[in-house]
Symmetry: C2
Subunit: 79 residues, 2 copies
């Protein structure tokens, strides 16, 4: 089973990488770019077929290691 | 219109961040984690409603700035 964990910054948290990419795209002539936000995805291969356990474990991974709940939120997609 | 550009490493390219995350998860007791790959997503707000132009422009952004074609590939999702 495969889990995609997407970590994004909470609303109101500055995203300097995103704003620099926006500036660079505007400088390259892409004037229609209004805003850029960055996100990180971890694609995790799991040696289990139990969907419920997988979901529970991946949530615990987010809380223990992958995400910083003060400034980030996570989204889990199982496949 | 919003575009999600996901940048992932090509097959065969080492992903040290991913393998360190795998090691850390295993050490935390998540033995079912077999492999971890990292990806980066840029969520781009575009001031256009022309889907065809948006797609074309975002592809050019990938080629010019967002992705390094030697080691990375990109995937575009328009919404």
């Amino acid at each position: 089973m495969e889990a995609d964990v997407t970590i994004s910054l909470n609303k109101g948290v500055a995203d300097p990488e995103g704003s620099n990419v926006k500036k660079a795209l505007n400088l390259l002539g892409f004037d229609e770019v209004m805003n850029v936000r960055t996100m990180k995805t971890f694609r995790i291969d799991l040696a289990t077929t139990d969907r419920v356990k997988a979901k529970k474990d991946v949530e615990e991974m987010c809380k223990k290691l992958l995400a910083n709940p003060v400034i980030q939120s996570y989204q889990i997609e199982l496949r």
